[in-house]
Structures are given as C-alpha cells and as structure tokens.
Symmetry: C2
DNA sequence: GTCTATAGTCGGATAGAC
DNA sequence: GTCTATCCGACTATAGAC
C-alpha cells in the first residue's frame, strides 16, 4: 500500500538519506524532543536500530539533518550569492556608470536576494527546513555553528555590503547591519508568525499568489527605506 | 538552601501561581515536550502531584500558562492601546487640525506601539513569555485561540487602523495589513533569530542599549515607508 | 491541600541472529 | 546492512495516607 516517493530498495539502498529526509520532516513538524526515532524510522521505511547504526544516536541524526539542510540552502542561495558578487565587482569596475544607475543595480540585487529568501521561506518543499532553522535559532544546539557559518553569515554579510554601497559607504556600518536585520525580519515574520499571519490576512495558506504580494510589499518598503526610485 | 525569589509559604500559600510562573519559565526554555512536570514542580518548590490537582494534566498547566501570559501582555499593551484609541478619536474630532500635523500624531502613536512591542520582546522579565508565544505561533496548540483573540487581534488591528489613516484611508486595506506585518517583523526578528542577531551584530546580549538602537532603526524605516517627515 | 509511592507507558539504545 | 527482541531510564498520572 502506498509505496512512497522513496524506495530504499535502490541499489546501494540509500537508507541513510531516507532517514535524513524523514528526520527533517519529523524534527521540523514536532521539534527535537517530540519527534521519536520510531516514527522517523517508520516514515523512512527503515528499522529503528539503523539510526544508531548510521548516526550513533538521535542527536547524531539531528546534527546530520541540520547539516544537510545547510548544504541544501547553500546550493539554493549559492548561485544568487555568486551572481551578486560578480555583478558587484563588475559595477565597481565600471567607473563610467553614473551613481544613480549604480544604486538601482545594487537595489535590484538586494531585491533578488530578498525574493530568494521569501520563496524559500514559504516554499512547500522547504517548509520543514524552515521550521528546523527557526527552532535552532531560539535554542542554539550543537548544530548551530555549522549552520551559521555555512549559510547565514554569508547571506547576511552580502546583504550588508549591498546596503552599505547603497548608502555610499565602502564597508557595512553597525547601522547597515541593523538595517539588514530589519529587512530579513520583514520576510521572516511570514514564517515565524505564520498562524497569526493567515488569520490576520484572512488567508488560508501562503502560496505563490500571497508570496508575490509579500515580495511586492517588501520591495516597496526597501525602496523607501533606502531612498531608491522604484516604479 | 537558596530560598528562591518565591516563597510558596505565603498566607493563602499560592502554590498555584508559583506553578504557573515556573511552568512559563520551563515551557519557554525547553519547549512543551522537553519540559517535565517534575522539574516544574521542583522549581516552584511544590509537589509534582499538585499539577494534576490544580490543572488536571500537564496540558492543562500549559493552557493556564499561556492564558496567564495573554493576561499579562494585555495588561501591558492595554494602556497603550487605550491611549491610542482615545487619542485617535480626539484627532478625528479636531477638524481644524491640518493634515500634516495629523499624520505626525498618527505616526507617533504607531512608534509608541512599536516601542512597547520592542521592549516587551527584549525585556528580561518577559523573555520566557516570548519564547512560549513564538513556539505557539509555529504549532498552534489548544491555547492559541485565547492568545490570538485576547492580544494579537487587538494590537495588529490597531496598528492597521493607524497605517490606514496615515495612507489617507478610512479603514485598513489588505496592503495596509501587509505593511503592519512587515513592521512587526522588523521588531520580531530580534527575538526569533536572536542567536544569529547577536553574532551578526557582535553583541553579547540584547539590553536596553541595543533596544534603543533597534527602536531608532525601525522608526527610521517607518518614517520612510509611510512618507512621514522625521527628524 | 499537600505529601509519598507507584502504576503504567513510552522512547532511546543495545545485543545478537541473519 | 538489516532485522527482532529487550533492557533501562524517564515521564505522566493516580491512589491513598495525612
């Protein structure tokens, strides 16, 4: 009955990754304590004892799950980040470009990062990731360092550099970093306060249609905050 | 040894409220599942069995805790809310007042609400509350309705009305409500992503000094977003 | 109202056959 | 690598004396 998406009977029978996927789902939905190894093994069509075999313990599985998330996010935000960096260098080099045009390009790049962020936060596929990440923020566990180092530092840092350039500075000040956090917050709230959001907006869920409106609202705010002309 | 802040040996020996206080602490710090009735009873200098006696079950205690938080927040945000409402009515009535002055007053009221919110989120005393609330948002439990009805609906609605008036409308549009959520998000992020925040800013904790800077940054954003002249 | 003691349950980890 | 069976510890809830 309902043979699932994963078939652990593959050659090389990757039970290990099936366990990680199931773990992300479970840890995200129920939290670390409430999630049980039994349920995770069940969802992965694997045996409970294999968790110890592969990861040593429940905590080992959790760490592996968070690292896997960090990799996935890196793969997803990485391209945007690289694009931003190369584009930034190109802009630095083009000395002939007028300041105002340059600002608009920086602004576009910033919007691109925010959009990627918004899509990731609300995307169905990554819903479980987001839940895990939010939990990890509030009670940084043994997996936090890997997460922060691999993803957050890079993304936040890049946004801060863009904001700094928009403000005509060469490197980000404390005020710029604060601004970045308030920008991130404008998107993040739609995940962290999801329950209140859907009630307040009268939405049923947060789908592409809603995400579009969220992006639009945040773009509008950014343009005003940073003093950029915007349609 | 170490007789704590609370002395359950008071006349009327309010073990009940001691349990609620300890429960908020524990549920906030550890989450619902990880918090144990044994630890809660211990922290309250009470007997474990009394939890069943007073609240029926662990879940009963949790609901009581959330309701208590809702009451406390209500008591804290209530005065601001009432002030806002009476002030708003007064402004509606004063037909002679020029539009621009009126906008500035609305803006001030909005800032006041944001400030109250920011203080509450970062305040030491209410740290445990905030943790419980954030958790409850992500996985609305049996206590969510009471919470939303008593607090969030009122606060968000009030902010939305202020934003609507600032935009020259008589009642809040969907866009206004979205704006309100992005405003709330700008403050909320300092709680929900606390771990990343302190690293990114290079802070040790979030104390009054940092809160002041947060408020300042958000005020600046609000002024730009809503098109209000601001120092 | 408050206590002790314990029943009943469940989850994580391990031993050892295959 | 994967399985079954089981141990051990921890937690919630209850029974019942005071």
């Amino acid at each position: 009955m309902q043979d699932r998406d994963e078939d652990p009977r593959e050659p090389g029978g990757d039970t290990r990754s099936a366990l990680i996927r199931a773990a992300i789902e479970a840890f995200g939905r129920d939290g670390y304590e409430a999630a049980t190894t039994k349920a995770i093994a069940g969802a992965a069509n694997a045996n409970q004892a294999l968790i110890s075999y592969y990861f040593g313990s429940k905590e080992g599985l959790y760490v592996a799950a968070v690292e896997h998330i960090a990799d996935q996010i890196g793969a997803r935000m990485g391209p945007i980040g690289e694009c931003v960096e190369s584009e930034t260098r190109r802009l630095e080099a083009e000395l002939s470009m007028p300041v105002e045009d340059r600002r608009i390009r920086y602004f576009d790049l910033l919007c691109q990062m925010v959009d990627g962020f918004a899509e990731m936060l609300t995307d169905q596929e990554s819903a479980a990731w987001a839940q895990v990440l939010v939990r990890e923020q509030q009670q940084p566990g043994p997996a936090f360092d890997a997460l922060y180092g691999r993803v957050q530092e890079r993304v936040l840092g890049q946004m801060a550099r863009l904001v700094a350039r928009l403000n005509g500075e060469s490197s980000p000040s404390a005020a710029d970093r604060l601004t970045v956090l308030t920008i991130v917050g404008q998107v993040l709230v739609f995940r962290t306060a999801r329950a209140a959001v859907v009630r307040f907006m009268g939405w049923e869920t947060i789908r592409t249609q809603q995400v579009t409106r969220i992006k639009h609202a945040v773009h509008h705010n950014l343009a005003a905050m940073l003093g950029v002309e915007h349609e």
